[in-house]
């Protein structure tokens, strides 16, 4: 689709399709300094930042609610050299965070972007605190050498806490945020400059917004399982942990105007997503002693193997699913398990045989599986599958089962950007007027994202994109005034 001007006529709106008509019926034209596509952590941060710098901003969200995947984040936000770390005398540094992130990403990350991530992380925590988020708790997630995962002190989930703060700040500051508003096209003129977007709303109305700067903050594509399988065929058959809007259409919008995609095959998975739900069952359930059995009641894998291997093993079972099996002692050892009860993801049986009957397994087989495992646990040697750590037996009823299957969790790849969050074309040159931040971009996480780094990325690159966009919009306005 080559479209260089704003169209005022075309077929009726009812006949619209992305690929069909030669022209769109544009019902109205608006103008803005900065258009932000997406209203997750990156989009709201970029929008608030550009607005604070004096730009007229419109944030467009295709879903009926704002917040994207960010509002579901449960881990935290990695940051180094923060005041909350200083209060606890944690000797972290941006350099250590940089090293951890590069190592986690198998060193294929863009080092310049990782440096930006690490060096700006403390300021990003301060910015979040300034709009009312609580980042005063500090913990540690996998792959970090120091305690640097910032989160609410009082146990509120980090995603809900920060998105609530962003929404409330947006309301107070009268930021123009529009839900049900899907961008179907980014315009780029002959000179190569981005000039605005075409928007379709819930009612089928199509309108254009003329703007010198567009920020893509549209997230990843973990919820588009066909796209996932296209880039990573071994993940065909997986389910997704993501909110339904994470389909990667922003990648297409960026690629259509010449943006370069990188690292698309690097997709993060999780072996234990609750079956029939998008809820992740934390790895700590296995870490604290749960075993995996298939629908026939048999173990089939070392439960503590890598995510890839555990996922592949589950997919190889009948139906591509499995059960986490645990007991009341393991339940008591981990607070999150109560949450799985609240969400009705748990099945119970007073005896192993009762549970087996509930799950439709042969009771004797299931009982034998538990007996064999408990003997191995007592002997500290798992002859069957070589599980290295068996902290607890599975012996205190009622016995518990949680159905699980592997899920796609995060897409590391995306649009290539530079340290100013400008989208790069295939020659590595910035596309004038086009910025991007967050999961729609590639390069920050390399081949594998560390837990806690994506919230950090959304805030830091959202702030950079917002500030740079406001600056560029100002310059564009000055130029057009001079011309006039």
């Amino acid at each position: 689709m080559k479209r260089r001007t704003f169209l005022a006529s075309g077929p009726a709106a009812g006949a619209l399709s992305l690929f069909g008509p030669a022209a769109w019926a544009v019902s109205r034209k608006e103008t803005a300094d900065v258009v932000v596509i997406g209203s997750g952590g990156t989009g709201l941060t970029a929008g608030l930042t550009a607005q604070a710098d004096g730009a007229k901003v419109i944030v467009l969200e295709k879903m009926p609610i704002t917040g994207g995947n960010t509002q579901l984040a449960a881990g935290g936000m990695n940051a180094a050299d923060t005041r909350f770390q200083a209060q606890r005398k944690i000797a972290d540094s941006w350099r250590t965070m940089y090293d951890d992130t590069m190592k986690g990403g198998k060193n294929i990350n863009d080092p310049a972007l990782v440096e930006v991530l690490a060096k700006n992380s403390a300021a990003s925590v301060d910015w979040l605190s300034s709009i009312g988020a609580d980042m005063s708790g500090v913990g540690r997630m996998a792959g970090a050498s120091e305690d640097r995962t910032h989160r609410p002190a009082a146990g509120d989930a980090v995603g809900h806490n920060i998105v609530h703060a962003m929404r409330q700040t947006a309301i107070q500051r009268k930021l123009d945020v529009r839900t049900n508003s899907r961008v179907i096209k980014i315009f780029r003129n002959r000179a190569g400059r981005v000039t605005g977007v075409l928007v379709q709303n819930k009612f089928g109305e199509v309108y254009s917004i003329e703007a010198p700067v567009v920020i893509l903050a549209s997230g990843g594509f973990s919820a588009d399982l066909a796209r996932v399988a296209q880039y990573q065929p071994s993940y065909a058959g997986f389910s997704s942990t993501n909110q339904p809007g994470a389909t990667g259409d922003g990648l297409d919008l960026g690629a259509e105007v010449g943006g370069q995609l990188r690292d698309m095959q690097h997709i993060q998975i999780h072996p234990t997503q609750a079956a029939g739900s998008k809820i992740l069952i934390t790895e700590a359930v296995r870490g604290n002693g749960a075993i995996l059995v298939n629908s026939q009641g048999k173990r089939f894998v070392n439960e503590l193997t890598t995510r890839d291997a555990a996922s592949a093993a589950i997919l190889a079972q009948p139906g591509g699913t499995a059960y986490l099996i645990l007991d009341q002692d393991i339940r008591k050892s981990l607070k999150q398990i109560e949450g799985y009860y609240h969400l009705e993801l748990v099945k119970e049986g007073n005896t192993p045989e009762d549970l087996a009957r509930t799950l439709g397994m042969d009771p004797a087989t299931f009982k034998a599986t538990l007996d064999t495992y408990n003997s191995a646990q007592a002997a500290k040697k798992d002859a069957e599958f070589g599980r290295p750590d068996m902290p607890r037996p599975v012996k205190t009823g009622p016995f518990i089962a949680i159905g699980v299957r592997p899920g796609v969790h995060y897409t590391m790849g995306g649009l290539a950007i530079n340290t100013k969050a400008q989208v790069l074309d295939k020659d590595g040159k910035p596309i004038p007027g086009l910025y991007a931040g967050g999961e729609v971009t590639g390069g920050v996480h390399g081949a594998n994202r560390l837990g806690g780094n994506s919230i950090s990325e959304t805030i830091t690159f959202g702030r950079i994109a917002g500030a740079e966009a406001a600056k560029e919009a100002r310059a564009a306005r000055a130029t057009s005034v001079k011309k006039a």
């Binding site: 009926p64 989930a157 819930k202 609750a274 998008k278």
Partner: protein, 153 residues
């Protein structure tokens, strides 16, 4: 605050007044009367559906279209007017949360006191002219959440 989404400060202000009116409006609501065929036909004609809460609002409650849509009669992208109208009669999440909880066996699964709130709009789940669907079940596919106004099961 409640039921508002980002960027709609104006509606937020009207909300405060609306909540005050809520009690009176509820007391005044007339008792059950099915929509007349004419009324149902009017909704169908306008909105192309025989599903949704518009039917009960027009039939049972004898409300006019503009009771929800306002004089302008054209919803904006955020459906601000319509959502403010919901809150005016039904109350904010502060009121709806406990009210809903009182009816639940598992009080942890409460659509009116969820982790997506309190800014989520009513119309995200409640549709006036089509089948309603709880947004929760997009992710919590194991939840059973029947919705008012759905005529087919």
């Amino acid at each position: 605050m409640q039921v508002q989404r980002s960027g709609f400060a104006a509606a937020l202000i009207s909300l405060v007044g609306a909540v005050v009116l809520a009690a009176g409006a509820q007391a005044a609501a007339p008792k059950a009367a099915a929509p007349t065929p004419e009324q149902a036909a009017a909704v169908t004609r306008v909105a192309g559906s025989t599903q949704g809460i518009a039917l009960s609002h027009i039939g049972k409650l004898k409300l006019e279209c503009k009771a929800c849509h306002g004089e302008r009669m054209t919803p904006t992208d955020n459906e601000t007017t319509e959502n403010a109208a919901c809150v005016a009669c039904h109350g904010s999440y502060d009121k709806l949360g406990p009210q809903t909880a009182a009816k639940l066996k598992n009080k942890n699964i409460n659509a009116h006191a969820s982790h997506l709130g309190p800014e989520i709009a009513c119309t995200v789940c409640h549709a006036a002219h089509s089948e309603s669907k709880a947004y929760c079940v997009n992710c919590h596919t194991n939840f059973v959440m029947p919705m008012p106004g759905n005529t087919k099961k």
